[in-house]
């Protein structure tokens, strides 16, 4: 099956690049920070370690997936590997979705590797939910970065756009709360800002409700709430994949 072969190639490339070493380094740094902070904490040492390590590993997963997807995609484009692949009897959708599946699998492996150490501080069920959520989040980041890399076709702008998109999605709930504050002056600018922010929020994923550190500290979330959050992420991955395919089909390569 061609898509599965492409997925395997992406995973092979990730394994042969420096990604495993970077992941190991990120894990070592996170464990070091957590150990240091637990020494200076007066109370809640375990909670401090778990929360700091989880936040650090979540950020590292997003950064590593973004860098890997952008660099791999743009290297293939610059080396004319993309043209070579398209000369094969493969549909563009097979090519695009195969690569996306490979990057998502890469993110899932990272999520698994980063979840295991958390078992030392949190209940296995909570860690499992956190890890699955991180895998979904990594898949979304991979889809967004693949979309930006294919459309922008330059490394730094693609990474900047992906990271900017992620940070905006993470902070959108807070931005909406600030825009709807009761003390805002009734000026036309603030009147315009509120619906504008709400409009932007409609087009962004709700990343503030997934991969929560609170799950590790205070127990797993309600099943329905958890499933709804992951379903929303899956829907957004589908949207990004469709948008990326739309652009890819229109490319004159």
């Amino acid at each position: 099956m061609p898509a599965a072969i492409l997925t395997r190639l992406v995973l092979l490339e990730a394994r042969r690049s420096g990604l495993p070493w970077l992941a190991a380094g990120a894990l070592a740094v996170g464990l070091g920070i957590a150990a240091f902070l637990s020494q200076v904490a007066l109370t809640e040492g375990r909670a401090l370690q778990a929360s700091v390590l989880a936040a650090w590993l979540r950020a590292c997963t997003v950064f590593l997936v973004t860098a890997q997807v952008a660099s791999s995609t743009l290297r293939e484009m610059n080396d004319k590997g993309l043209e070579l692949m398209l000369s094969l009897p493969l549909a563009r959708s097979t090519h695009y979705l195969g690569r996306l599946a490979g990057f998502a699998a890469c993110g899932a492996v990272l999520a698994l590797v980063f979840s295991v150490p958390l078992l030392a501080w949190a209940a296995p069920a909570a860690v499992a939910l956190w890890g699955v959520s991180l895998a979904f989040e990594a898949a979304l980041v991979a889809a967004a970065t693949l979309f930006f890399s294919m459309t922008i076709a330059q490394l730094v702008p693609a990474i900047a756009a992906s990271v900017g998109f992620y940070l905006l999605a993470r902070s959108m709930a807070a931005i909406q709360a600030i825009a709807a504050g009761p003390l805002a002056e009734p000026k036309w600018a603030s009147e315009l800002a509120r619906p504008s922010v709400d409009l932007v929020a409609l087009l962004l994923p709700q990343l503030d409700s997934v991969t929560s550190t609170a799950w590790l500290l205070y127990g797993a979330p309600a099943a329905l709430e958890y499933a709804a959050a992951l379903a929303a992420i899956a829907l957004y991955v589908l949207l990004l994949a469709a948008a990326g395919l739309f652009d890819f089909y229109r490319r004159n390569l």
Partner: protein, 163 residues
């Protein structure tokens, strides 16, 4: 359409359908999601100034102002002891900022509840002595609020339009 682009007809129908459905689904999903009602929620306990310093990543001026935006997203029914705690931490983060004192003297001191108003005015009074050169306008305004806005029976003559 540039030379690098193919016509829209080159996009398969299935991609059009999936794109339209997923976009509609995303918008519907987010539209159904209840917005966070910060105004009606309870203001969380104030962070210590050291914690805010740590969270600022070396940008205390920007963090202080963003924290003020966060605090002002809550309405005037908040617990004023917590509110003043937030204002103290933010002022500690950026002592030259006028924002916390402005908010205390011009907004929170004009609350209709005399006890809350007094809490805000006392905050302005306490903070004045730490930097009189810079903070005297807010103490002057607080004095005017305390003297002219209250009647002898502890009620406000006029309530602010903001409350």
């Amino acid at each position: 359409m540039s030379r690098d682009e193919r016509p829209l007809a080159a996009v398969p129908g299935a991609v059009w359908v999936v794109l339209a459905l997923s976009l509609a689904g995303q918008i519907a999903w987010q539209a159904m999601r209840a917005p966070d009602a910060a105004a009606a929620a309870e203001l969380p306990p104030p962070p210590r100034p050291e914690a805010l310093h740590l969270a600022s990543f070396g940008e205390p001026e920007a963090t202080a102002r963003v924290a003020m935006l966060y605090v002002q997203a809550f309405d005037l029914r908040v617990d004023y002891r917590r509110l003043v705690g937030w204002l103290e931490s933010i002022l500690e983060l950026d002592p030259r900022s006028q924002y916390p004192l402005f908010s205390a003297a011009r907004i929170y001191a004009e609350a209709p509840d005399p006890a809350r108003s007094r809490t805000a005015l006392e905050f302005v009074y306490r903070e004045f002595f730490r930097d009189p050169e810079r903070r005297w306008p807010w103490l002057a305004h607080a004095a005017l609020v305390a003297k002219h806005c209250r009647s002898g029976r502890g009620k406000w003559r006029s309530s602010s339009s903001r409350t």
